[in-house]
């Protein structure tokens, strides 16, 4: 738009465009209150408005939007899971992601790279074959490849891993992608705000008012808000929020750490994951290598990062890419992963009427942001969970019907 650009150049006034309104005070009541302004909470607000016309909605965020795990994750999007329910669900998310920049009118830097899960042992190869068959059955493009094909896609990789853990093959998953995580949060926030939802940052929910088994409102750092429907989408804070309504869940919190190198010229196109070496790595659109590892081994509710982590991760990175020895790590951080025993999320209704749960996203929830927002919005609007998320219901534990996805976790836990 050259005319607009010209006008802009001559103007002395250049206000940064706001993504959502800066509202002073929440109203006294809303139809739906969403706790947590991460990707999941904001996406739910967006689809409540878009798919169901429910716009009298508040999103309450204790810090700033996207400041939780959404803004701390390594942004790998894939659907090569182990159970048909899981593959189907994550595939639906990948499909939304593919058109999301356009839909939200914001460049999410969604970049399709192809994803290799490296296998260094026979038993890992067996799991890869299993996943490939389940994926193909559901119609998702995954196949087992040998070392030649890996070397062709990534000639820089030392296939013997410095002799420590020779690579036997990999599960190749063509749709594997990365995206700008904060863009996803901000895009959904703008989309929700434009349709009428209200977003409040620095607003913490401190209690939930339950009267005769039904949600009646929430206590917040900015006063009481009446509502009959509350969605908890707070990832690493889930046990604190479920405690407010006396709800027991299997969720435990472990830190998950990540780091990035200084930027380099593009050389790594694929996303590489090694379960045995506890590494996943991709190169961002800024040229940084974005790297993550396995969970910290015990419960801590904190986002402090550690030297042990960087030392361990980088030594394994050097097994794979010895030529990186002079490259510097420039940032490291941690998020709080809400882990479930079967590595599947917990979504849907709960025994407390009007209290909806979107949790148990552990180390895998960024890829599910669009589809979880969509299915939770549907659950809230109809007070009934869609078939697609039936296997993720909280009551699966008392039914002894777990949804085992551990074999599809990115690195050994």
């Amino acid at each position: 738009m050259p005319l607009r650009l010209l006008k802009f150049a001559f103007s002395k006034n250049h206000p940064a465009p706001r993504f959502f309104r800066a509202l002073e005070q929440p109203k006294k009541s809303y139809d739906v209150v969403i706790i947590g302004g991460g990707g999941h909470g904001l996406a739910a607000a967006y689809y409540l408005a878009k798919d169901h016309g429910i716009t009298n909605v508040a999103v309450l965020e204790r810090g700033y939007i996207g400041g939780g795990n959404t803004g701390r994750n390594t942004t790998i999007v894939r659907s090569n899971y182990l159970t048909p329910e899981g593959v189907n669900f994550y595939d639906a998310s990948v499909k939304i992601y593919e058109g999301l920049s356009e839909e939200l009118d914001l460049n999410l830097f969604y970049s399709n790279r192809g994803h290799f899960t490296l296998a260094h042992t026979e038993s890992a190869m067996r799991t890869m074959r299993w996943r490939a068959e389940v994926n193909k059955h559901v119609g998702v493009e995954s196949r087992v490849v040998g070392p030649d094909e890996i070397a062709k896609a990534c000639p820089q990789l030392d296939l013997s891993c410095s002799g420590h853990a020779p690579i036997l093959g990999a599960l190749y998953h063509a749709p594997g992608s990365i995206a700008r995580h904060d863009g996803v949060a901000w895009g959904y926030a703008r989309g929700a705000d434009r349709q009428g939802a209200e977003i409040f940052q620095n607003t913490e929910v401190t209690g939930i008012d339950v009267q005769s088994g039904k949600v009646a409102g929430v206590h917040t750092s900015r006063g009481y808000i009446a509502t009959k429907k509350v969605l908890s989408a707070v990832a690493g804070f889930t046990p604190r929020v479920t405690k407010m309504v006396d709800l027991d869940t299997p969720i435990v919190i472990h830190p998950l750490q990540a780091c990035v190198t200084e930027p380099m010229k593009p050389w790594l196109n694929s996303i590489l994951v090694s379960g045995s070496l506890h590494v996943y790595v991709s190169q961002s659109s800024r040229g940084e290598l974005v790297m993550g590892s396995s969970l910290d081994p015990y419960e801590v509710h904190s986002t402090r990062s550690s030297l042990d982590f960087v030392e361990g991760l980088t030594s394994h990175m050097l097994d794979m890419f010895p030529f990186l020895s002079n490259v510097k790590i420039v940032r490291q951080w941690a998020g709080m992963a809400d882990m479930t025993p079967d590595f599947a999320p917990i979504m849907g209704k709960t025994p407390v009427e009007g209290f909806y749960l979107d949790a148990g996203w552990g180390t895998w929830g960024f890829k599910a942001t669009p589809i979880s927002g969509k299915t939770m919005a549907e659950t809230i609007a109809n007070d009934r969970a869609p078939e697609m998320i039936h296997s993720f219901r909280l009551s699966r534990f008392e039914d002894y019907e777990l949804t085992g996805e551990k074999g599809a976790a990115s690195v050994g836990h």
Binding site: T249, V252, I253, H301, S302, F397, E398, D399
Partner: protein, 87 residues
């Protein structure tokens, strides 16, 4: 490097230890309903706070109890199971 005090071997690097989860009382399997048993098997006290936990010192094969604040990561004390009062 983080450190932990083993009641048998003194203060050692945390990498020598394995976390065994929160100490919990098992309900009587004969007397509990399926629902109660499922809750015991799956549910955890996930909220942060001061917890009594099982820890294992790998090199010496010692299981013991640590009282630890999972929000601040402070360990109040460690002792062998059953020796709480002596600690």
């Amino acid at each position: 490097m983080k450190l932990l005090h083993c009641p048998m071997n003194g203060t050692r690097p945390i990498s020598e230890f394995v976390f065994g989860g929160e100490f919990r009382d098992m309900p009587d399997p004969e007397a509990s309903t399926d629902k109660e048993w499922a809750a015991y098997v799956h549910n955890r006290n996930g909220a942060p706070g001061l917890k009594k936990e099982w820890w294992y010192h790998g090199p010496s094969g010692t299981w013991f109890i640590a009282e630890r604040n999972t929000l601040t990561e402070e360990v109040l004390r460690t002792y062998l199971f059953g020796q709480e009062t002596a600690a």
